[in-house]
């Protein structure tokens, strides 16, 4: 096997591994918070309680600003709770129109969510795992 072929195979393997890993990450959702929030990780239950309006503060005591990413709402609630988005909408109608609490803030795309979480200490949202960068901290990963 010539060095050129070996190099080609090595690079191909590396590219395949890199793509494979990227695909693995891309099939997950990362729940993100501000790095200065004082939160390092959250359990699935804690995230459920926050996104269903049962608790209003992060575990560090900061008042939580809970954010839905519109294009990923359905995948997020399916991955988190196993429930369809229509059930979640009905759930929020119960709470919203009986004065209990307001539903999460909705932002139109992942960039807006990243931007908001990066600039607000109490913000918590979710984006595709592949889009997470240094401006935010991942506290829970959910698989599709």
């Amino acid at each position: 096997m010539t060095p050129a072929i070996r190099t080609f195979i090595r690079r191909g393997l590396a590219l395949w591994l890199a793509l494979g890993c990227a695909c693995c990450w891309a099939t997950g959702i990362a729940v993100i918070v501000n790095p200065a929030s004082g939160v390092d990780s959250l359990s699935r239950e804690e995230v459920s309680h926050l996104f269903l309006g049962r608790i209003k503060n992060l575990s560090s005591g900061l008042s939580a600003v809970v954010i839905d990413t519109l294009p990923q709402r359905e995948a997020f609630y399916q991955a988190l709770l196993g429930r369809g988005i229509t059930e979640i909408d009905a759930y929020w109608a119960r709470l919203r129109f009986s004065g209990r609490t307001q539903p999460p803030l909705r932002l139109g795309d992942a960039n807006a969510v990243l931007e908001r979480v990066a600039h607000e200490r109490g913000a918590i949202g979710y984006v595709d795992s592949a889009l997470v960068d240094r401006r935010v901290k991942t506290v829970l990963r959910l698989d599709y």
Binding site: E45, S48, N57, R83, A90, R94, F97, S98, G99, Q102
Partner: protein, 416 residues
């Protein structure tokens, strides 16, 4: 809008307090939204009207396609001043006890949340008896076309002007909460062909709830204490003035005893335990309640409801069952039919004693179709049977006896 002044005044007063302004470190955010139901129903039982609760002056009439029983529209405004202070106001129009659609203020409160675990609300609030949120009007929040009438249609004094306090704490894998509330009762009934509003009543209640990822458990207790109700005083006066000849002294004494048992102060007390289980596409909700009414002659009873559904994409087929039994305490009185006035008094007495009797059950099946975001179309068939009922009534508004009907309903629920 009727009887809104105290709640609105309180709302305005609290919203204007300096404490609120001082606590504000962010710009207030405002949200305007609403909900509604367009409903149609049909059954073929001539001379009988189906009502979904005791407040409605009219229901779905036999042999006619009706649109008024389930239809309603609500508008809501929310203001969030900062994480601690917020306010909400909601007005809803539905067919009321006077047979019109005059909007009513169902919620108007200011909320103060000093910590994550404490909420205080002041103003017009709702009694905490509904498992699907503290409202019987938000059809989109319910799986079926309407909350089971046999249980949720029986207490329509479900608003009050006062305050509630909610304490929350993590418990196991879920969150436990205790809510205490109290204030002046609001809400009407329509019985025996006429609207009825309590002269003065106060509501007290408590709700204990635990919510986990799939399971919610709730125990609720409430008491509505009515004062100075003079509606039965004509009967009391008539009974105390009964004068019978010597062979009937025992009946006369009993009539006077019954007269002394009628007073204008009474309690309507209810206790419920309920559970809601939601696991993926499957949902099950069940409630068991007891109710006691100390107004003469005194009533006791129970009610139960079960709703089970299974989500298949945009479709959610479901089944429902509900039952209520509510009857009077033993307060027998047999007057001798010596003169026509005594015969009339006996008839009136029997009517009063049995006026709130209920022995009704219903089976239902339907499908909810979420055809667009925030819109749901529901088809439902209910078979309702009643030996005695206050919900079902004849066309003059009198309670129906020994009847049954099959109700076909189509509703479109929406939120915005």
């Amino acid at each position: 809008m009727k009887r809104t002044c105290p709640a609105l005044a309180l709302l305005a007063l609290i919203a204007a307090t300096p404490a609120l302004a001082q606590d504000s470190d962010t710009e207030p955010t405002w949200h305007l939204g609403g909900f509604g139901t367009l409903g149609a129903g049909y059954h073929s039982r001539d001379g009988i009207q189906f009502r979904r609760d005791l407040e409605q002056a009219k229901g779905y009439e036999g042999g006619k396609l009706g649109f008024r029983t389930d239809t309603r529209l609500g508008v809501q405004a929310n203001a969030t001043f900062n994480p601690r202070w917020s306010a909400m106001m909601q007005g809803v129009s539905w067919l009321n006890s006077e047979g019109n659609w005059q909007p009513q203020v169902t919620w108007a409160f200011v909320r103060y949340s000093p910590t994550d675990w404490l909420d205080l609300r002041f103003g017009r609030l709702g009694v905490d008896i509904y498992l699907d949120g503290d409202s019987r009007h938000v059809g989109y929040a319910y799986t079926p076309a309407r909350p089971p009438s046999e249980v949720f249609g029986m207490v329509t004094q479900d608003r009050f002007d006062g305050m509630d306090v909610t304490l929350r704490h993590a418990l196991g894998s879920g969150v436990a909460s205790l809510k205490l509330y109290g204030g002046r009762s609001r809400g009407d009934y329509y019985l025996f062909g006429q609207p009825y509003t309590s002269p003065y009543a106060r509501t007290l209640g408590a709700t204990l709830e635990w919510s986990g990822e799939s399971l919610t458990l709730r125990a609720a207790w409430g008491d509505i204490h009515t004062q100075d109700d003079t509606s039965l005083q004509p009967l009391a006066r008539a009974l105390s003035s009964v004068a019978l000849p010597a062979p009937f002294q025992a009946q006369q004494a009993l009539a006077q005893l019954r007269a002394s048992e009628i007073d204008g102060f009474y309690h309507l007390t209810f206790s419920t335990v309920s559970a809601q289980y939601e696991d993926g596409p499957f949902s099950l909700q069940t409630l068991l309640g007891w109710e006691r009414h100390t107004n003469f002659p005194g009533y006791e009873g129970w009610g139960t409801s079960v709703i089970a559904g299974y989500r298949i994409g945009a479709w959610k087929p479901y089944v429902t069952y509900a039952r209520s039994c509510f009857g009077p305490k033993e307060r027998s009185l047999v007057l001798p039919p010596l003169v026509p006035q005594l015969t009339q008094l006996q008839s009136f007495y029997d009517l009063v004693v049995n006026r709130l009797n209920s022995d009704q059950h219903s089976f239902g099946a339907g499908v909810r179709y979420d055809f667009a975001s925030n819109y749901a179309l529901k088809f439902q068939v209910d078979h309702v049977s009643a030996r005695e009922s206050t919900l079902l009534m004849d066309n003059s508004g009198m309670p129906a006896r020994n009847t049954s009907l099959t109700l076909y309903s189509v509703v479109v629920d929406f939120v915005f």
